[in-house]
Amino acid sequence: MQDILKIRGLTKSYGHKVILSGIDIDVPAGSVMCIIGPSGSGKSTLLSCINHLESIDSGRVWVAGELVGYRERNGRLFELPEREVARMRQNVGMVFQQFNLFPHMTALQNIIEAPIRVKRVRPPEARKRAFALLERVGLADRHEAFPAQLSGGQQQRVAIARALAMDPQLMLFDEPTSALDPELVGEVLTVMKDLARSGMTMVVVTHELGFAREVGDAITFMDAGAVVERGDPRAVLSAPKERRTRDFLSRVL
């Protein structure tokens, strides 16, 4: 099966502080990759490198076979102009820990903004699609609500619908339930499970080990900017091979 996401030797540092050192990751089409690890291990930075919200120091990231953020010529990487990067980002949906909905727009406006402005979808069509997506995340009746009128769980579900409205081939989730009250986590995970079952390729940075076990096709444990262990979620979570994975899991569980 074709890899939707392929990462090779990804390195990133801020000044002298190394954030990511030599990451390799493959995510086949239609599969769910969960990334776990202690805070500060570089998980979120890794996600931001996948859609070039962060630049990289070396290595390569391919999404659907296309090199992300750079053009390679004579073995050197040249950063692409903003136009090219923006075009590529349409193909990668992203969901943030803090939702980041646009507070001055209603749920519906949040969802149709990018399709209309970026993809030039005709407004009636964009609205129709937005309603279908709101239906899918169980919020069809809240389309006129502003973000501040929605609960955290509802905001995150709108944010997922907003990302899906661009018809991405890959969805990135950056700790999507970490900012939620415990009783609201379930509704967001349900939407994500439904999305995984529908065949969406997903990379999910999460602390929800139950979700990783149930939905994940693969799991990657990161520590100090490097991949420590990877494999089948059930195997890694119940019988980790590396000591650092064991330590982390014993602290989380």
Binding site: S48, L53, A86, R89, N100, L101, F102, P103, H104, R117
Partner: protein
Amino acid sequence: MQTATARRSTEQVVPLRHPGTWLATAIVLLIVGLALYSVATNPAFQWGVVAQYMFNGQVLTGLRRTLELTLAAMVIGLVLGTVLALLRLSRNPLLSTVSWIYIWFFRSVPTLVQLIFWYNFGALYSKISLGIPFGPTLFSANTNVMITPLFAALAGLGLSQSAYTAEVIRAGILSVPLGQTRAASALGMRRMMIFRRIILPQAMKVVIPPVSNEVISMVKNTSLVSVIALAELLYTTQLIYSRTYQTIPLLIVASLWYLIIVSILSLGQHFLERKFRHR
């Protein structure tokens, strides 16, 4: 309903009394009353003359000029201020430094001095030419012809206003969380679009109250222009009282008009703020 009332009446709760507040209110009312009485009855205020000049054609022309100056100077201030704010936030250190120096300079020199300076610009450069540097001249004019009092007024008021507005707009832009830009970028939006569609509308909420204050200040700052003999509201009344020696009533005419304009603007500010307040 009745049972609730009955239950409530069984308990007697006596709120704390504030006799001091009542005393203060009485004193204030007395002072205000005395002041109003004196203003109304003192013949030196010459209310008849005030009424006579309130809608005088010359005064109304001056009023119109004041409104035009306010509008034009604010437009210059807002447009130039937005550009300066963006330069100031630029990653390029040269651009942000140039903007910083501009803001520093135009906020430091009093507007009154700037007005007089622009009015006398001819003393610095007697000719203004437009052309290719070190090449042919395309256009040339005598400075004293080019720089009319109106030009000097707009330059003086507009340029110093832009320095203040730039800081207000910069604060507005910085008040929008970085996550907004990240979310919009992740959707494939580009920088200009993100600024226009996502950042600016949110910055507006923060920017509107201080900018409304600036507009109100500008209405009154236009009176500085009277020093370069531009016939706005204040200078017009000055022209009249220098002829009739009815100084006080004419200054009251000007003050009343400033009061009216500012009141209307404050009302506008109230509605604008309500429009941009998101739920």
